[in-house]
Structures are given as C-alpha cells and as structure tokens.
C-alpha cells in the first residue's frame, strides 16, 4: 500500500518569512492522522499546500503518488477539503451550494449529502448568510464528505460545533477510516485529536517535532489533575505513586502532575473518598517541552 501523503523538505515562506521550514511527512493509507500544533505553527500552510491552493517555496508534496503542483486537478478530484475558515455564498441556500459543488465535481450521490446533513442536524433550506457559525461549519463538513473522497483534509474541523454535533462528526471520521479512507485533520487541542486519531504529528514554528501513534503519545503525555477528598487526603501523600511527577497539597485538594496512565493514581486515591476529579487539558507547549526534554 502506498502512502497517501508524502512530503519532502516541504517549505513555504510568505514574503521571505518562513512559515514551514522543510517538513518530511508520511501519512499511510486508511488512518486518521492528527496534525497538532499551536496557532501559527504552520498547520494551515501545510494543508493549503496539500490541497493545491498554494505552491511550495521549496521541496515537494505528493498525494496518492501525484505531485500537488503538476497534477493539481487530479489530486483535487480525490480530496475533500474543509478550510479553517469555511465560507460559502451568502445568498445561496445550503442545498443550492452543495448542488453547485456537486455539479463541479460530478458523480456525487445526492442522497449522501442529504444523509450527512440529517446526521449533523443541518437544515439545507437556509441561506448561508443567515446561518449560525455552528451551522456554517456543518455545511462545510457536508461539502467535504459528500463526494466520498479518498482523502479528507480538515483544518480545525470541530471549531464552533456543540458537543453533540462534535460526537457525530467524530463518528463520521471513524466511518470514513473504516471504509478505508484517510483523514488528515489539524487541531490545536490535544483531546480532540486523541479521541479519534490513530497517529499524531506535532508541529511547532514550521518544524515537525514528532510523529507518533496516539497510544505512544498518551503514555508520555503530562497532565495536571486535581483530586478533592471528602475527609482528608492520604496521609502518606501521592508522591510515591507510579507516574506522579509533582504533588502540591492545598486544603482538601491535591494537585498532581501525572505522566501516562492514571490507573495507579486512582487506585491509590480511591480508599480516601475522592469527591471530585478535575483534569486539565494539557497545554501543547508543555507536551512539546516534555518531548524536547526526552528527544534531546
């Protein structure tokens, strides 16, 4: 099986300022690939190079073995693309817009577009100009999925979606993967990617830091967890528990910095009557720094 995406020293500068500093990215077929990085890391730049909206300043990118510059239209035939800031024509209804795109692409099964809209709870009768941000994003998702592309390229797809719709969206992504399609999605939120991706690449300042399986990433991710006890915290403290890096006591609440699995920590804390567990979304910067420490 050939790789779906393969870039060689792919670089892009805007007016001399480098946004992407030569990345070598390989995305195998049939996986959900999370492309993670803080804002301004070069995620959107990579994506717009892959879908043929920009040309590389140096290096090259191939999708399905075809060069994204010289064989642009052939690549685009097989891609579904959701931009980070999706905009449709204000005066067209969802149905009119989707039918227009379906006509441009050709060979779209219209019933599939309707099914997608129904699953995301999107009314196709409303004009784009009158839609809420969430509904606009839903329309963007439908247009990306409706022609059943072999590769889905989604730039921050869940922004603006409420949790229920997010879940349905993630189901769509998994189904696409189970049908053998490849999904490349970017995010600056780790939990979002963790929930659905098989592999994760991390990008910072235009450089690719790591490419890992999600399992591997979870095992090494450092999280902050606050445990609030009903009576009193364990007298011996939680510092000796495997994986715990730091402990900080504050009244009935213990702030823990944990690396990897929380199984041992929960086991150790449970006998003391845990009233509340709060886990904080790990900051991408922290993860990067943790990885740097190990890699260097």
């Amino acid at each position: 099986m050939t790789d779906v995406i393969r870039t060689r020293a792919l670089a892009k500068s805007y007016a001399g300022r480098p946004a992407l500093r030569g990345i070598d990215l390989v995305v195998p077929a049939g996986v959900v690939f999370g492309y993670l990085g803080p804002n301004g890391a070069g995620k959107t730049t990579t994506i717009r190079l892959l879908v043929g909206l920009m040309r590389p300043s140096a290096g090259s990118a191939q999708v399905f073995g075809m060069d994204v510059v010289s064989e642009r239209e052939r690549v685009q035939r097989r891609i579904g693309y959701l931009p980070g800031d999706f905009v449709a024509y204000r005066d067209l209804t969802g149905e009119q817009y989707l039918r227009y795109l379906a006509n441009l692409r050709g060979g779209v099964d219209w019933s599939l577009a309707q099914t997608l809209a129904k699953r995301l709870d999107l009314d196709l009768g409303g004009r784009f100009g009158s839609l809420s941000h969430g509904n606009r994003q839903k329309l963007g998702i439908v247009q990306a999925f409706m022609h059943q592309p072999d590769l889905l390229v989604l730039d921050e797809p869940t922004s603006g979606l409420d949790p229920l719709v997010q879940r349905e969206f993630l189901a769509l992504v998994r189904e696409a993967r189970d049908q053998g399609r490849t999904v490349f999605l970017s995010s600056h939120v780790l939990s979002e990617v963790e929930a659905v991706a098989d592999m994760v690449a991390m990008l910072r300042s235009g450089r690719l830091l790591v490419v890992k399986s999600v399992q591997g990433l979870k095992a090494s991710t450092v999280r902050r967890i606050d445990l609030t006890f009903a009576q009193a915290p364990p007298p011996a403290g939680l510092g000796a528990v495997p994986g715990v890096r730091e402990v900080h006591q504050e009244g009935l609440t213990t702030h823990v910095v944990l690396e990897g699995s929380a199984a041992s920590l929960i086991q150790a804390a449970a006998p003391y009557g845990v009233e509340l567990i709060v886990t904080h979304e790990p900051d991408l910067e922290e993860i990067f720094i943790a990885h740097y420490r190990k890699d260097v």
Partner: protein
C-alpha cells in the same frame, strides 16, 4: 442553474442585469422622445455653430441635425460608453478578486475546476452579460427609432450596440485579469478605471490637438466611437477591442494558475 461557474456567474447577476437593461432602455426612450422637438427647432444648427469648436468636435455636434447624429452626440459618445465600461469593470473585478476576498474561492479552487477554466468561464459570463445589455440597447433603439422618427436603421442600431459591448468587454476583461493576477478587487477596479480614463483622454485630445492625433487610433474609445458609432457600419477597428480583451485574459491565466490563493 448552478451547473458550472459560468451559469453561477449569470445567476449572480440576474437582478443587476434586469436593473441595468431597464435603465439603458429608459435612457434611450428619454433621448428619443426629445428628438422630435429638437428637430422642429429648425435653427438648431445656427445655435450649435456658436458653440466652441472643441465641444462640437468632441460630441459630434456637427451632425446634430439628423437622428443618428443626435443619438451619437447625446448617448453614444459619452453616456452609453461610460455605462458599459462601468458595468464591465465592476463585473470583471468581482469575477475572481471579489470571490477571493470573500473567501468562497478557497473551496471553488480546491475542486477539480482548474484556475484557467474558472477564468475562461468568468470571461464568458462577462461577455454574455454585456451582450444582454447590448441587446437591450439595440432593441430599444430599433423599436423607438421609427416611433420618434430618428431614422436609425436596424443595422446601425446593431453595430452601435456592439461597439458599446466591446468597449465594456475590453475594460471589464482588464479588470478581470488584474483581479486574477493580484487577487484584489480595489486594485482591479483602479487599474481598469485609470486605463479607461487615460484611453478617453487620448481619444479626446486626439480630436482637439493635432500633435496627439496620430496616437488616437490606439485608444479603444477611438476604435469604438471614432466613426460613429451609429451609422459607421462595422468598422474593422472593432476587432482591436476584442483582441485586446483576449490578450489580457490570456496573460492573466498562467499567473493566476501559479500564484497562491490568499487567505481572506
């Protein structure tokens, strides 16, 4: 209706086209309705003889005594060309650059629709919409000429309207091309407008200043209006306007295909 970029562009303009055709036909009706009283004034030629020569030259006032001369002076040498050029430039600037600035180009060009085909379809839509305006102009002149005794033949009405459409197409194509190259609507409008004003100034000065006269044929306004446009038949100079439009669009296509699409 929304089968490709051409039909989409035509659909987008449907209201504008109704408005513009109505306006153009009303203008023709107004001018045509004035003609009988002008003709009956009799001493109009004497009156005009007192006008400065520059003015008589520029607006073809010499021929004011005939229906054709009257319509040329009143409508076809300034107002109509202006309207067609404005329509062409605003439509041409919107075709690519407008769509890029609003953000909708992002999805459009991520489909297998190629950048070159998009430019061609937009240029075709520009030509088609100008053809609609020209047809309305032609119909109004052809119908109202016998009603008000203007004496304008069907053929004259047709070629005069064609001249207006070609003039609009040339500057509209320039705006489309600049928009495709720069991605900026304001730049497209500015460049095409400046070119149109410069071309008109060249044409006007060519009439008034003999030193400029040899350069006058370079101006699209001279090519369109120099011999009429009503009553001039089908002068070969019309071909230059179409050719210039084709050239600027052909120049813009490879640039548009190679450049990055702006993030709005």
């Amino acid at each position: 209706m929304l089968t490709n970029a051409f039909t989409k562009a035509m659909r987008d303009q449907r209201r504008a086209l109704v408005g513009w055709t109505t306006g153009i036909m009303l203008l023709v009706l107004m001018e045509a309705a004035i003609w009988p009283s002008m003709r009956d004034m009799g001493n109009i030629q004497q009156l005009l003889a007192n006008y400065p020569e520059a003015m008589r030259e520029l607006f073809n006032l010499e021929d004011f005594g005939t229906g054709i001369g009257f319509m040329n002076a009143e409508l076809f040498s300034a107002l109509m060309p202006l309207l067609f050029v404005i329509f062409g430039i605003s439509r041409g600037a919107r075709a690519i650059a407008g769509e890029e600035e609003s953000g909708t180009l992002e999805i459009l060009l991520a489909t297998p629709l190629s950048a070159a085909r998009l430019v061609l379809q937009q240029a075709a839509a520009l030509a088609a919409s100008l053809a609609v305006l020209a047809t309305a102009l032609f119909a109004a002149v052809a119908v109202l000429s016998p009603v008000f005794g203007l004496g304008i033949e069907i053929g004259d009405a047709a070629t005069g309207s064609l001249a207006m459409a070609l003039l609009g197409f040339e500057f509209g194509a320039l705006a489309l091309a600049v928009g495709a190259i720069t991605g900026r609507r304001v730049v497209a409008i500015a460049v095409a407008s400046i070119a149109a004003v410069a071309a008109y100034v060249l044409y006007a000065f060519g009439k008034l200043v003999s030193a400029v006269e040899p350069w006058q044929p370079l101006s699209p306004f001279h090519q369109a209006l120099g011999t009429g446009p009503l009553g001039a038949g089908l002068p070969p100079t019309y071909a230059w306007m179409a050719l210039a439009a084709v050239i600027v669009i052909a120049m813009a296509m490879p640039v548009f295909e190679r450049r990055d699409i702006a993030v709005h």
